[in-house]
Structures are given as C-alpha cells and as structure tokens.
Symmetry: C2
Subunit: 213 residues, 2 copies
Amino acid sequence: MPGKRKVGNLLALAVLSLLSQQPMHPYELGRNLREHGDDRSIKFNHGSLYMVVGQLARAGFITEQETSRGGQRPERTVYALTDAGRDELRDWLRDLVAQPRHEYPAFVSALSLITALPPSEALSLLRARLDHLGRQQAGIRALIEKSQSDGVPGLFLIEEEYRLALLDTESAFTARLIERMNDPGTDWMGQWARFHGEQPPAQEKTRSPRRKQ
Amino acid sequence: MPGKRKVGNLLALAVLSLLSQQPMHPYELGRNLREHGDDRSIKFNHGSLYMVVGQLARAGFITEQETSRGGQRPERTVYALTDAGRDELRDWLRDLVAQPRHEYPAFVSALSLITALPPSEALSLLRARLDHLGRQQAGIRALIEKSQSDGVPGLFLIEEEYRLALLDTESAFTARLIERMNDPGTDWMGQWARFHGEQPPAQEKTRSPRRKQ
DNA sequence: GGGGTCATGTAATAGGTTACATGATTCT
DNA sequence: AGAATCATGTAACCTATTACATGACCCC
C-alpha cells in the first residue's frame, strides 16, 4: 500500500540524514556511519553505499557539488542534498515512524519450522539460544551504561534501549517455551513426537482447517 | 562467522521442509506455503520460489523426480529431497534456533534517525504508530483464538504468539517513549529542540566520544 | 624501504522482484 | 461465448554483495 520509494534501501535514509547536515563525499559518509555506530541500526557495507549514492543522485535527491579536490587522491565527489531530497527525508521518516510494517525476523521463521527437529534436540538448542541472548543483552547494557557515563544524552540511546527491550522479550519467550515443553500438562512433547517423523500431518498448521473433503 | 550456506534465502528452508514430507512440483509448494500461512513467517513471492528451487537443485539438495505429467499443462517438474538436502534442513534449522543473529528491524532505524524530525511532529507520529500497533495486536489475537477454536494444537501457534509478544513490547516501548518525551523531568524535548535544526551537533551520537582533538 | 592498512572507487557476479506469457477452468 | 481466475513457468530488470585496483601514509 505505501507507494514504492524511488530508492528503498534504508541506508539511503541515513545518507540523506547525514547530507542534511552538510555536504560530503561518499567515503566521508561511510566514516560517519561507522563512527557514530549507525551501522548497528542500518545495514551497511562499502559497496552498497556507493550504489545507494548513485541511486539517490539519479533520483534527484542529491547532486554533485564539487569534484576532484585534494592532492592525487582518486577523485572524490562531494554531494549535497537537494530540496527534493530534504522532502524525501522527512516524508520517508514520517512514514517509517508512523506505520509499522510486517517483518520477518529469523526466529519467527525458525519457530514456524521447529517441529521438523526432534523435540529433545529442540530443547537443548533453545537453551543454547537463551545463553547467547544473555550475552547479547549484557553487551547492550554495557554499551548503554558506557555511553551514559560518557555523557551521551539519553535521547540518542533510544534505539539501543528498544533493541534491548526486544531481546528481553525474546529471552522471556524462549524461557517460557522451554517450560511449556517440559510441562506434562500441555502434552506438547507428546504432540511433537507424534507429528515428528510422520509424513503428511505436519501439514495441518495455523489457519485454513483443510476445506471440506 | 557462521559459514555461508549455499542457498541463503529462508524460503529455501521452507521448501526443504515441505519436500521432507513428500515430493512436489513448485506450484504445489507455493500453494502449501500460502494455505498454511507460512507466508506470514517467511517472505514469499511467486518469482522467488522458482529461483530458490533452481538454486536448491544446483546445490544438490533436491532433484527432479519426474517431469511433464498431466494433460497439456505447461510441463511441471516434481522435485524430491536428497540426503544432502535432509542434512542441510536439519543443520540449518539447528543453527537458526540456537544462534540469534543481529537484525535490522525498520523501527530501530527509524528511532536512530527520528531526531531529524521536529519533536512535536515525532510525538504525533508515535501516537499514530501506537494506534496501528493496537490493530495488529488485535488481529493476531483473533487469529490465535480462531485457530484454537478450530482445534489447531498450541504447538503450531508458537510463532504467532512470539510475534504477538514482540508487538506487545513495541507498543509498551512506544507508549513509554511518548511519556518520557512529555515528562519535563527528562528534558528530552529541550535537548531535541536544541539538536534539531542545528547543523553539526546531531553528529554526537551513541558510541565514540569524538577522539581527542 | 618494504609490509600493512587507509582512502577511494569501479567492476563483476549473484540474488530477488516484477512483468510477461499462455493453456485450462469456471463463472455469468 | 467472453471474462475472470487458476495453474505454471520464463525472462527482463533491478539491487546488493564481493572482488578487484591503486596511490598514499604509517610503522619498525
């Protein structure tokens, strides 16, 4: 429903945002993204950056401003935001904040197929995940505390706080899943064992109670 | 770190899983994915399906079994899982369950750049999001209840429950963010207003307290 | 002064999405 | 019978990731 953007990669949004502060050449964009840790929130790699900059230029959101300054370095081009680019930045961001969209986290996929594993193995894998999650949580907590003690205003930590909240939820869910599997009251292990290894029945899933036949 | 898979698209995992139950031709795979609502957990579109099937075949995880049955329909090819494919399915799934990996949800990106919007606008956009989230939550709750009353075992609803848990977290976080913005004690709106519209300072973000200079 | 790594970018390849094509079935 | 929809796939086009290239600076 939300009409396609000319340039869809979120990396482009970060580029627009940086250029809204001052003109830069691509490499500088990359440096800023890394230094400010934006690459934790937005997938970034060298190649994609140049691609995205090219797309933005073709779409008229940014323009070359000057070119080939500096001694004998390989010809760098400085880009600046256009008015259209400024509009796109605002509009895109508005959309992103206001409109949640359906996403596909890997763990959702994993859960939807997990019954293909034998139940006892699934249990131990879930325990391993819980372990790793704990480490990640600790990492983010440390990061937040360090930033705070470095005087970074709380405003600039919200995305890490959000990420942490997601991790907490995932941990809690995983732990609860393990419990439910072990709880004989739910008979999950029984169902699981019955489905596992049988051919057709793993079919009968979520919706669509098999039309009449 | 986790060595690249020959075929990386999660849709391929779903294909392996379906073929582990019985051989099928691609269109049938698609029908099953849709009918069982797997397309809520795994991104799916017609074109990608054929691509992925091709990749799996080249990688030796599946093979053509028979071809061109049926009257004058356009030549359909039935694929079956190979032993290598069965191994890959298990191994991939194990990895996916046990190892959480860094992801990039759109809302994290949005939060990391949200200060580019004027604070009052951000507030109303967040309220709008909260609204949409509420609707999505209601939708999933309804789906789960309907499935339960249709007799679908709880085991097959875990991925929807997990998704719901994520939504709940996002809602709570968003609501709390709105509160904190309105709380004069935090002075977020003050900081925000100061950063917003100023050129360089929106720089000073998360990590890296600007090396000495 | 030669071996790394920084700075800067281009090109080749692989991956994924959209559009196109066409016989069969069903609806009105 | 013509329109819509299903069934089935191929091809064209974008996007994104990896690999390649090369002068400058920095370290011991």
